[in-house]
């Protein structure tokens, strides 16, 4: 059983997703129990995986026992274990929140949700480039349907853009995979790392074209500057639990950038090493600047949170652009914080919107809130965390990142990061004062807060103070992860003992 643990994060949601999709009708409460139960089980599996990976050993699972480089492998190291744990924690909050009623607005919510989890987990675990494409498609197909869950004009329109863009992105992904296979003759990422290192001159051009095409694809997923325009609309029109789960989707893009360029185009790749570096740093700064403007311009709380997701993408990408193990460790810490907090803010925005009647989440005068005190405190906490104010976790993440910058990078990173934080702070305090203090003199709405909804919000936002309390062990873990990432030879030796992993 224990050796099959690595494949469980894919198999478990697959099985429960299929079970949930057997009947479109049927008891909602049964589906909820199955959906929440499976997600909770996933959380347990993820904790076990982190325990397995924390020692620094890279282990793999060969599907059908076809050994690498020929078969398809699932690779578990510190980074993938961390990402799976993060997905499971986020998903549990979302699925419990959705069980308060969002899942009844359309059909098959829980089944699609599980399939989406399967795609995300698969993308984090796979060690094979084509398999990565397949898992991308799984998570995208599920996300298309989830984005339009419940219907409505705004969702259909945002969904059409999202689907068309991602279909074009998939086409580019396939071309890039084809080019890389043609030049290196393998699809296993570890094997590719070995092959890239021994590449003869004329093929280097092909490989670098393929590598940069991949950067475009991952940039589309991660929503980097010229490719992010689909994000604000899609995220702000999606149903709240889906938008919160989507907080991990941009991080799938960040993860794949980290994985592919640190493994295949790591230090051993010779002239092709760090091929993404000239692009990533400047694109990151551009994303930060553009999203800070977007945060200030947003006139709707959900749109505001969607732009905050973009700010986090810019910050994370800047960490990749700094290209030192310290920066990567810091960015992983920030990634945990920002995924959970922005997810929680999406859920909180929904709760606030529900109590404001017609005004919804738009930043205009509305009905007074029935539970204004409680929601206000949660909003204050979430806002302070996401803007990066001490004592919450955003401040620690940003401080780690700023310390990791080299003196040449500091003049660019420090002002931009701090100004983006200031913009978030201004926009959030303006939003908060409109939402909680300026209201018509009317009766408060009679919609009570659901217990499951509150659990979802507190589960996700509560991660921020928890991250502060556990900052020591967590940052030790992320630093160890970064060390592991910066030495691809360890993974090469684990998967391909005969391939000369001592480079």
């Amino acid at each position: 059983m224990l050796q099959h643990l690595i494949v469980l994060p894919v198999v478990l949601p697959l099985v429960s997703g299929i079970l949930l999709l057997i009947s479109r009708h049927g008891s909602t409460s049964l589906k909820r129990v199955l959906g929440i139960g499976s997600t909770a089980l996933l959380l347990a599996v993820a904790i076990a995986l982190v325990g397995k990976a924390t020692g620094g050993e890279v282990s793999y699972y060969a599907l059908g026992d076809w050994q690498p480089p020929f078969g398809i492998v699932m690779v578990l190291d510190r980074l993938s274990a961390l990402m799976i744990l993060l997905t499971a924690v986020l998903a549990l909050g979302c699925v419990v929140f959705a069980s308060a009623g969002d899942d009844e607005q359309g059909s098959n919510f829980h089944g699609l949700f599980q399939l989406q989890l399967m795609g995300i987990n698969g993308a984090f675990l796979t060690g094979d480039l084509f398999n990565l494409f397949v898992f991308f498609e799984v998570l995208l197909l599920a996300s298309y349907a989830l984005l339009m869950h419940g219907g409505g004009k705004g969702r259909i329109q945002a969904g059409l853009h999202y689907v068309v863009l991602n279909l074009a992105g998939s086409a580019l992904f396939l071309i890039a995979v084809g080019v890389l296979y043609g030049a290196t003759g393998t699809l296993n990422m570890t094997h590719m790392a070995v092959r890239v290192a021994e590449l003869e001159g004329e093929r280097a051009g092909l490989v670098s074209a393929g590598a940069l095409l991949l950067l475009v694809v991952f940039g589309l997923k991660a929503a980097i500057l010229p490719l992010y325009f689909w994000l604000p609309k899609a995220y702000s029109s999606a149903p709240a639990p889906v938008a919160a789960l989507f907080a991990i989707m941009t991080k799938v893009g960040i993860y794949t950038i980290l994985r592919v360029y640190s493994l295949i185009f790591g230090d051993q790749a010779g002239p092709l090493a760090a091929i993404e570096q000239p692009w990533v740093w400047w694109l990151a700064l551009g994303t930060l600047a553009a999203s800070a403007v977007g945060v200030l311009a947003a006139r709707d709380l959900r749109l505001l949170v969607a732009y905050l997701v973009l700010v986090s993408v810019g910050t994370l990408l800047a960490g990749i652009g700094m290209h030192t193990p310290e920066a990567i460790g810091a960015l992983l810490f920030y990634l945990i914080h920002t995924t959970l907090v922005t997810g929680g803010l999406f859920l909180l925005a929904e709760l606030i919107g529900l109590q404001r009647g017609k005004a919804g989440t738009r930043l205009v005068k509305g009905r007074p809130l029935r539970n204004g005190g409680l929601l206000g405190v949660l909003f204050l906490m979430g806002g302070a965390a996401v803007a990066g104010l001490p004592p919450l976790s955003g401040a620690i993440g940003k401080a780690l990142l700023m310390v990791a910058a080299t003196p040449a990078q500091q003049p660019w990173l420090w002002p931009l990061l701090l100004i983006a934080g200031l913009c978030s702070l201004v926009a959030l305090s303006r939003a908060g004062s409109t939402l909680f203090w300026r209201s018509h003199d009317g009766e408060p709405s009679d919609r009570p807060l659901g217990r499951r909804q509150l659990f979802g919000v507190i589960w996700l936002l509560g991660a921020s103070p928890l991250l502060v309390l556990l900052a020591g062990p967590v940052s030790d873990y992320t630093q160890a992860t970064a060390e592991q990432l910066s030495s691809p030879a360890v993974q090469i030796r684990a998967l391909l003992p005969d391939a000369g992993g001592d480079t």
Binding site: V163, Y181, L187
Partner: protein, 115 residues
């Protein structure tokens, strides 16, 4: 053969790109379909083109790379599902928004009427 193959793929890609950038949802869907055809052809050729090769290794030495065939099969299935989804979505958008423009707004209609 290589140049014919490359030209075919290139023309398909160019047509697909042009149509994908149109403003109405039907040309966009057709464009995406052409694009996925082009990508499938490209994938098929990524192991190098061989003629008279055995499909399955039979010991004679000259054989076709089997991996691209397996990959292109996967890509075709996924592309087919995605196209079906995009068609349904475009029809739904047409029904919900009352027009078939990808932005949901009829921006170019008045100009066409004036002509």
């Amino acid at each position: 053969m290589e140049s014919l193959y490359a030209i075919t793929t290139g023309i398909l890609t160019a047509c697909g790109l042009f149509l994908t950038l149109r403003g109405r949802s039907f040309p966009v869907v057709v464009g995406l379909t052409l694009l996925s055809y082009a990508v499938n052809l490209f994938l098929f050729s990524m192991g190098g083109l061989t003629t008279n090769g055995a499909a399955i290794l039979d010991g004679s030495g000259n054989y076709a790379d089997p991996l691209p065939q397996a990959l292109v099969l996967t890509a075709i299935v996924i592309g087919f599902a995605m196209t079906a989804f995009a068609v349904i979505l475009a029809m739904r958008a047409r029904g919900d928004m009352g027009n078939d423009h990808v932005d949901g707004r009829q921006v170019d209609e008045p100009r066409e009427e004036r002509r």
